[in-house]
Point group: C2
Chain length 366, copies 2
């Protein structure tokens, strides 16, 4: 039986958007929430102190990367992932499935999981629902994701059906594995773009009474239209009283629309990855190519409407110079700015749900 860890505090009248509170032993999360990705026990270029200053509520860790380096046993002996990386707030870990399936042809799917070759040193490993739950228990994350197959895209109906059958069995096994008392466990809905399979998967996940429900396989190559179609179809099928997490999504616009479909949680590498590619998110949702020559003598901030550390202290000209000569501070300032953009966007969205203006504000909230 799942505990009651989630409370919906307010619902929009003009959409499915909702405000909620998710309780974990490492703190309370206000939803809708964006989770920056800390793949290898660090959100790239950031210190945990900086994440706190940006009001980041929860970060994500990747089971696949951490099981290889430094290894989940080491992290357990270090006292868990929170202590290891000095992050005393909630952590969600993924199940590792997405990464191992993407290793083809270095992996082989078996009934109990996936046999794969490390992309680092060629060593052999096995990851299935039993192993994934054990590793996530070692890591000590607050939210543990069930082990699924992230159905590739495109995918025939027949292949999607077979994949879903395997995912269902693996989720049942995931549901039975022991975790630590404080850990919440989320199930994942798959089924590709096929409504009947998505409905079947949603009903199955609901029947297993997880602490939360995720929508997987919607950020793997399908069009934005298909993503919106699947998300808007699946979200209302999920239990009202549990948090809903749309995995790997997405752009500011995709997050905004998905909130209106009733999604509560998001993660994406976009703010950190684009920062390392010199792109800065701007109010409105577009990005600024911060390395462009036209900013060489632009002494205004990245975004005049932004109040992050980078925008309050440095100019486009300075940041462009740093990027141009490949100084670490350039990537740091853009990362701070981009994470701030996503965190502040979620704060605006929560405020708009609370005062009933989310839908009337339209894209001006971006």
């Amino acid at each position: 039986m799942s505990r009651s860890c989630y409370t919906v505090e307010c619902r929009s009248e003009a959409s499915h958007a909702r405000l909620g509170v998710l309780e974990t032993v490492h703190g309370t999360i206000r939803t809708p929430v964006f989770m920056p990705v800390g793949t290898r026990a660090t959100v790239k270029a950031m210190s945990p102190r900086e994440l706190e200053e940006l009001n980041v509520q929860i970060i994500l860790g990747n089971t696949y990367h951490l099981m290889l380096r430094p290894g989940s046993g080491l992290i357990r002996r270090a006292g868990g992932l929170h202590k290891f990386e000095d992050w005393n707030h909630p952590i969600l870990t993924d199940c590792g499935g997405f990464q191992v399936f993407s290793l083809a042809p270095l992996r082989k799917i078996k009934p109990d999981g996936v046999e794969f070759t490390s992309h680092i040193d060629g060593s052999r490993h096995f990851l299935g629902p039993v192993e994934s739950m054990r590793i996530q228990r070692d890591l000590g994350s607050d939210i543990v994701m069930a082990f699924d197959e992230c159905t590739p895209y495109p995918c025939t109906r027949d292949a999607a059906e077979k994949s879903l059958a395997m995912t269902k069995r693996w989720e049942e096994i995931s549901r039975e594995q022991p975790l630590d008392d404080h850990q919440l466990r989320f199930g994942i809905v798959q089924g590709s773009v096929y409504h009947n399979l998505r409905a079947e998967s949603a009903a199955h996940v609901a029947s297993l009474d997880f602490d939360g429900c995720a929508i997987g396989g919607v950020s793997v190559g399908e069009s934005q239209e298909e993503m919106f179609d699947v998300t808007s179809f699946v979200a209302p099928l999920l239990p009202e009283d549990k948090p809903r997490y749309l995995m790997g999504v997405g752009t500011p616009k995709q997050i905004l629309e998905s909130v209106k479909f009733g999604v509560d949680m998001f993660d994406c590498v976009m703010p950190t990855r684009l920062a390392r590619h010199a792109a800065a998110f701007m109010r409105g949702g577009d990005t600024l190519p911060a390395k462009a020559g036209r900013f060489a003598e632009d002494f205004s901030p990245l975004d005049p409407r932004c109040d992050c550390y980078a925008c309050m202290h440095f100019t486009r000209a300075y940041i462009r110079h740093l990027l141009n000569v490949n100084e670490i501070l350039g990537a740091r300032l853009l990362t701070i700015h981009n994470i701030h953009y996503f965190i502040a966007l979620m704060e605006r969205i929560r405020a708009a749900i609370a005062d009933g203006t989310l839908e009337s504000q339209g894209d001006s909230i971006l």
Copy 2:
């Protein structure tokens, strides 16, 4: 005429060590002081806020690198180097000579300076005393270094003599160039390892009445013994009432000994460069190879005697993991730790001069 910007507040009885106060419009500097190097308008991997938290009093900027990218005109139009890089404390800029002379065979020495080819894009440039002073005026640094030839090592007496003759003429020209009112100007003593040439140079620098005197050419390849020989010979020849700056030095031990010879100011890339090569300075003055496999499960801090952010929050195991997977935070934490080591060393040295125990403490102060 130089202003009286420097006051010696206390002298050791058992050595030439002294405590002093150097006034600039961007703040007061307590000497002996260590200056981290911010070559391209950033101390590598650090934000200016972090430098402030480490009690860094003054940083260095490199004329050669800044004249090429982003260009001194751009920095002038940005409001000067302080504003450009958001550092509201003192800055010293070097003259660019050391870098252009090291460009051989891409440079040609002429009577008025050095013609050279940019190492970045092959463009042609000229740097002499007139240009160096103009550029440093553009940058707006608090301490401007006269343009000299950094005599190579090893160097015959004859070559050193010719080099010194050129340096003397260039320093005279440097002395005459206009600067902004707030800028202090330091002369540089050269002369290689030859005492009579060093004495001649020291007398010449003193005669030009600079605001401070530097000892150059002692960190370009000579042995530590020769470095100590030259420094201990030159320092007492310099005006008592002016700050003395030993350029590019050095290890903790070299700094400690040079303080006892009467040196007040130091700069070195060692803390930042070694951080990027995974070496952490330890109390005692040695370094720890932080990436070594033996630290994989070492859950103690880098240095148990250190109270920097890295040591108060993270373990050797975590930092080793970050270095191992090449995460930016690894270089950041080691840089914080190493700069903290040098800043804290100077704080211990100043306290020991004040209470008369510098010499009796010996190397235990390292």
